[in-house]
């Protein structure tokens, strides 16, 4: 009989951080696999190189810095690497992808002290570093070449959002099915339907909080509907806004990062709304066609403030 006197509770829900990470990876898988299928072995190489680089960087940091928080086997490095590659152009050079993953892990997470300590989302931080350092590679969008299906030459070398920004016209030449499946030039993991599938599964499994997802989508949908009604020729339709770019990836997988989002339920609404609104503003008024990474980083910066402003009411507290 053990004589250790341990504190209550003596039962546990069984949820662990590494299980959460595994579930996020599972949620990402459909869109990731589909992305690799669409863009071929170059995309696969990018995914593998980034993951390996992230794992090595994590391992190195933990070796060098004994006080760092977190373990290699908690899986957070893999999640970071996957989130980064999902947001990269599919034919992005693999060595730059590996560099980005190392930046994400080392500068995005480990310098702050390890798991749970970082202020900014590591994957988005690395994406911005890559975007600013390698602008050409970061904006060359290959046309998808899926196996077994011969696509017509309907695809230009620009993303939906990029085309709108260049031409100033909101006309899109893709059908609704291809748009929803994400068979269009764009980042590696942008298939709206499959992201939705993985994301809803994660909400059902209680891995992520629906509050951030719903409020982010609303935060982008409402202003884009208003703008589209005012100027339908130059502004992309709300549905196209939602299904293009990294919006759904951000809503389900990036904004819901527990470390960099507020913990209070009310704070999560505000955080999601802010992300959605900023994505819309950057897309429409910013210099970049896509604003997810910047929007997330900006909201990360104010997340602690949101959290302290949205404290819950205590039971029995008189206001």
């Amino acid at each position: 009989m053990s004589t250790l006197l341990l504190s209550a509770p003596h039962i546990h829900s069984g949820m662990t951080v590494s299980r959460l990470m595994r579930q996020v990876i599972l949620g990402l898988l459909p869109a990731l696999v589909f992305g690799i299928y669409l863009f071929g072995e170059q995309a696969l190489l990018l995914v593998v190189a980034s993951m390996v680089a992230a794992i090595i960087s994590e391992w190195l940091c933990q070796k060098c810095q004994k006080t760092t928080i977190g373990r290699l086997r908690d899986g957070s490095a893999i999640v970071t690497a996957l989130l980064l590659v999902m947001s990269l152009p599919p034919h992005f050079p693999w060595y730059l992808g590996a560099f980005g993953a190392a930046v994400a892990v080392i500068l995005g997470k480990q310098v702050y002290g390890g798991l749970g300590q970082n202020l900014f989302n590591p994957a988005m931080l690395a994406r911005v570093v890559l975007l600013i350092s390698f602008p050409v590679a970061m904006t060359s969008w290959p046309a998808p070449e899926p196996l077994f299906i011969n696509l017509a030459d309907a695809f230009t070398g620009a993303t939906t959002l990029g085309a709108v920004m260049e031409t100033g016209s909101s006309e899109i030449n893709t059908g609704i099915i291809t748009m929803l499946l994400g068979i269009a030039p764009g980042s590696l993991g942008e298939s709206p339907l499959l992201l939705l599938l993985g994301g809803i599964w994660m909400i059902w499994k209680n891995v992520i909080d629906w509050r951030i997802v719903v409020s982010l989508i609303i935060g982008c949908f409402i202003p884009s509907t208003i703008a589209w009604l005012i100027s339908p020729d130059t502004i992309l339709s709300p549905l196209a806004q939602l299904s293009s770019g990294g919006l759904l990836l951000a809503a389900f997988f990036i904004a819901t990062d527990p470390v960099t989002s507020p913990t209070t339920p009310k704070g999560r609404y505000w955080y999601g709304l802010g992300c959605g609104l900023l994505i819309f503003l950057i897309r429409v008024f910013g210099a970049y066609p896509e604003g997810v990474a910047f929007a997330i980083l900006l909201m990360n910066a104010v997340s602690p403030l949101i959290e302290s402003c949205t404290r819950q009411r205590l039971y029995g507290e008189i206001k």
Binding site: L6, H10, I11, S13, L20, I69, G114, G116, T264, L314
Partner: protein, 491 residues
Amino acid sequence: MLFSHSLIKGGVHPEGRKQLSNDNDIMRLPAPKRLYISLKQHTGLPATAVVRAGDKVIAGQLIATGSGSSANLHAPQSGVVLKIATHRAAIPGGGEELMIHMLCDPERQNSSLKVDNDAKDRVALIDIIEAAGVVGMGGAVFPAATKIRSTLNKQIDTLLINGCECEPYLTCDDKVMREQSVEVIGGIRYLLQATAAPKAIIGIEDNKPEALQILTDAASEDSNIEIKSLPTHYPMGSAKQFIQALCQVEVPKGKRSTDVGVFVQNVATCAAIYNAIRYGKPMTHRVVTLSGGALEKPMNIEAPIGTLISELVASCGGLKGTASRIVIGGPMMGHTISNMHTPIIKGTSGILFLEESELPQKNSSPCVSCGRCVSVCPMGLLPNAMAELVANDDLEASSEQGLNSCLLCGSCAFICPASLPLTQYFTYAKDELGRQRKMENKAQLARRLNQQRSERLAKEATEKAAQKAAKKAQRGATRPKRTPTTAEQEI
């Protein structure tokens, strides 16, 4: 669950594991040979023994008297008092307490309280409850009479009877409701009289359909007793959450439930009150749940207060394997013990013998601020932030965050993916703050006493000086000043 409206804020849904022990009827323990009746059955002052070593006592005889915060103790069996000495107790952290050691007689002789079981007067009813040593059996172990007496000058609108038993594993209240429904309902009728409340509501979690049905039948003729089914949701049975779920009111911070016109009592306490008033039977026994994966035959046992846990285990067929942890109470809020040769007290609702596979993993990982603790906190606290403050020893800041509101219900630690020992932090911080407050009071008292002493000394000194001066003056007036002798001058 995702979008559903809940009666209480936060909370968790641990696996019930009640089927382990709720199949069999309550077993009546054959009289144990020895009993160790602790004088300290609950927080507050211990009771004062009124028997001495060598005294012969009969079952039901008063053996220790309580005072306000403690309740009377009665001999559960006839026998001889061996001694009054310390013995290992099943208290958090282990340790010994003063207990009445009794050697029991196999023959049963009963003594009952002399009660007027037609008493109608509130004060008379409360006096009987006090004499019988009835305490709240839901966990707080507060003397029932003291609690009821506090309603004498307050208007109670609703009597809430707590049959939630939201802790996993525990089924003693469930079994009491199913097997002693007459006593439970009878006790509620007496309580309605004693508190002058117009109606009573019994709240029972919906994972106990039999108890719900049996009590509904038992109370079918009482128009003022209502039975309500509540969703199974931990910590529904916590008084504050229970009130919130049934009355949709919150007890304001720093106030008591009687301040919002409700009075909460546990179902088993009601049965004890009935036995006290109707039959003059003092509270000498209780139903204890023995459960857990390591136990051969989990069941409920009605045992005399003071029975050793080892004897209870033996009557459950012993252990089938090694119990990795022995828990007193429920798994969410109970405490561990390391020794089975300790007696049960009036508040022992359950003893769990948990196997390794039932326990949480011991290693915690870093907090990823997932916020699950925040969303499950029934009190609306920020457990992650509070725990961080406690870890940095900033107890003042954590108490500003509302540490005192913490129920120690364990919901946050139960859900935490990082397995952080959140409840342990809060238990420590609460104890430490209490200790600091005590020290502060002590220091203040010492300062005050010291100041009073120096004032007194100063006063005495001035008085003395004044007296001296007065004496001198008197002497000077009566006698001429003595002139030094020549011898003194030479020196």
